[in-house]
């Protein structure tokens, strides 16, 4: 039990071997993340402004979305991000095997998100909903699908990271690439954490 707790929460007596630098990962990935956030930010702002003028329409069609699925998806992405953090910490403590397992768990939770979201999209397609159905669906489908593509890209990144961990590409002293990929995945998570309340709940 103690071992399991230690495994999942990375509790240990060892100190972090490397002082975490800020920002973690490569500067280039941060420029990319900022640019990505700007795209989503513009979408979110446009959504919010348009909603003010069409509040009834937006509220009515928001009811048609599957909030429970979105909640599960939120949990899936947050836990996935958690596992990625643990994978990075494990590498920092030179626990390659543990890092690999955490990365697989992160991948798994990302796949859960994709599966649930695909179901949702399939449901909308069955109902004949398209980008031209109304302004609400235009925004919802655009933002959700654009985010979905980012999850797909993020999963490819995580798969590459997992494979690199397995091959021993990262060491306690050099895991810049891992941090870069992890930062990207957190961005994907962060966008969903804004998208979920904005589109499904509020």
């Amino acid at each position: 039990m103690l071992y399991a707790t230690g495994f999942f929460f990375n509790i240990g007596n060892e100190k972090l071997t490397k002082v975490m630098k800020y920002p973690p990962g490569d500067l280039a990935i941060w420029i990319f993340i900022m640019a990505e956030l700007l795209v989503f930010g513009l979408f979110f702002a446009s959504y919010a402004v348009t909603r003010i003028d069409n509040i009834e329409l937006f509220e009515f069609y928001q009811q048609s979305l599957d909030r429970r699925a979105a909640l599960w998806n939120t949990l899936a992405l947050i836990s996935s991000s958690y596992f990625v953090v643990q994978a990075v910490l494990a590498i920092n403590r030179a626990r390659q095997q543990q890092a690999f397992i955490f990365m697989l768990l992160a991948l798994l939770m990302g796949l859960v998100f994709m599966a649930i979201k695909t179901q949702e999209f399939a449901h909308h397609i069955d109902q004949g909903i398209t980008l031209s159905t109304n302004t609400f669906y235009m925004f919802y489908l655009s933002m959700a699908f654009f985010h979905y593509l980012h999850v797909a890209l993020g999963l490819i990144v995580l798969a590459v990271l997992a494979n690199n961990i397995r091959k021993g590409c990262y060491s306690q002293h050099d895991y810049n690439g891992l941090e870069s990929g992890a930062s990207y995945w957190h961005m994907v998570d962060l966008v969903w954490i804004i998208l979920f309340p904005l589109v499904y709940v509020m």
Binding site: D26, I29, F139, S142
Partner: protein, 462 residues
């Protein structure tokens, strides 16, 4: 120069500069026709001058890209070009086809040209920028395929670098998207939509990859900065260029009959198109500041930095000015577009081709790395003459555009198009003046190849 086959780049560069001169001459003629409507009429009607001006631009840039690829790819791949003979053969085919097409525009009425070239068998003529007869278009495809084969085989047998890979993706994209010029649906909405697949996805999509790759190459060569650092930037820049550029096509779909969501998609994604250009500017200056050595070829570095700045201003800032759909509602098809088009093409593509020509030509002429002091000074003069006059062309056209938008589309009593054209005549005269300075700059540029040839080249500082 490490590989003798790089020499095939030279005729491509010379042809590019030759056609560039033609392009500017017709630009100056057309600029005059804006203010003196029957200038050189009926010999050179306005629509013909415009066709020659825009088509020559595309063709000479393509010559420039091909020359750049033939010079750069063997150097990057560390191997001789797969087939120098094929490269030379394609050069002549492309040059003759291009020259015949331009002569066709100038010597016979466009309808007759369509008839002679049997356009009715596979009609592709008549669309702006894609006016070439079908047979020329087929020629372009053949030349592009042979070129891609040659470059692709060279890359395959040699060292694989990110720079070569990005260039190859850009060139393949260029060839693939050109195929849409053969698709002419009857539905006029679809017709316009697929027309943009060539026009937009070239200049705001795949050409940006070519630009990024050539810029990275010139910077590696002239600054000595680590390849790893430059490649990392290149990845980020092209990723952003593709994300914003591909979906950003939507800013052309506002008023052609496509669904309403394009108003949002086009506005949001194209609003971010300046970002990769801004990154490119930061990237270029960063690399030059971090340089490990002084390069004796100063004009090459100047062109490289110039392209980063002017591409950001012309493509980025001037593009953003009128890319949001509620702004574009008033500005589309006005002189604002012309202002953007001029500075964007000059900054992003003319200057990068001149940068690589500037870098490569001394070596192609048998020098070690650089031209003589005199030649470099003359070339840098031409840089400033052309660049500053292009800034003024852009500013005058922007002024014309703002007045035009107001008088024709926004004021309480909108005026008809031709009445407004009369009222903005002063801007057109000023633009023509700046255009003539540009032509002088170009003459100075050409002169830089002929002066100081017998003088020793600038040496690397110890």
């Amino acid at each position: 120069m490490k590989y003798t086959s790089q020499m095939v780049a030279k005729p491509y560069f010379i042809a590019a500069i030759g056609l560039f001169i033609g392009q500017i001459l017709f630009g100056v003629i057309m600029g005059m026709q804006y203010v003196v409507g029957d200038f050189l009429f009926p010999e050179i009607p306005f629509n013909v001058a415009r066709m020659v001006h825009t088509n020559l631009l595309i063709v000479w840039l393509l010559f420039g890209f091909m020359g750049a690829a033939y010079y750069m790819v063997p150097d990057e791949a560390e191997t001789e070009l797969h087939s120098p003979f094929l490269a030379k053969l394609m050069f002549w085919i492309f040059l003759v086809a291009g020259a015949l097409t331009i002569l066709g525009y100038l010597l016979v009425p466009y309808a007759t040209l369509a008839e002679i070239t049997m356009n009715d068998l596979l009609p592709t003529m008549g669309r702006e920028f894609l006016e070439q007869p079908t047979i020329t278009k087929i020629g372009i495809v053949i030349v592009a395929l042979a070129f891609l084969y040659n470059i692709g085989m060279t890359i395959l047998k040699g060292r694989k670098t990110v720079i070569n890979l990005v260039l190859l993706i850009g060139l393949v994209g260029l060839a693939v998207f050109f195929l849409f010029s053969f698709y002419n649906p009857d539905n006029i909405v679809l017709d316009k939509m697929f027309w943009w697949f060539v026009v937009h996805l070239w200049v705001e999509g795949v050409w940006e990859l070519i630009l990024g790759s050539l810029l990275a190459y010139v910077l590696i060569k002239t600054t000595g900065v680590d390849r790893e650092v430059i490649e990392k930037w290149l990845y980020v820049i092209i990723a952003m260029a593709l994300i914003t550029g591909l979906i950003g096509t939507g800013h052309h779909f506002f008023w052609i009959g496509t669904p309403g969501y394009w108003q949002w998609w086009g506005s949001i994604f194209s609003a971010l198109e300046p970002i990769p250009f801004f990154m490119m500017t930061i990237f270029a200056f960063n690399m030059v500041n971090k340089r490990r050595r002084q390069h004796p070829n100063k004009p090459a570095v100047l062109w490289a930095l110039g392209t980063a700045v002017m591409a950001f201003l012309g493509a980025g800032v001037w593009g953003f000015l009128h890319t949001l759909s509620f702004v574009n509602y008033y500005t589309h098809g006005t002189q604002i577009t012309a202002a953007h088009g001029h500075m964007a093409f000059y900054g992003a593509y003319v200057m990068i081709v001149l940068a690589i020509i500037s870098y490569a030509m001394p070596m192609l002429n048998g020098r070690k790395a650089a031209n003589s002091q005199l030649s470099q000074i003359v070339e840098m003069w031409s840089f400033w003459l052309m660049t500053i006059s292009m800034v003024f062309i852009t500013l005058f056209l922007t002024g014309a555009g703002i007045v035009q938008v107001y008088l024709q589309r926004m004021s309480d009593a909108p005026l008809p198009f031709m009445v407004v054209q009369d009222k903005i005549e002063l801007f057109y005269w000023l633009r023509e003046g700046a255009g003539i300075i540009f032509l002088i700059g170009l003459i100075v540029y050409v002169a830089s190849f002929f002066v100081g040839r017998d003088q020793p080249e600038v040496e690397l500082p110890k």
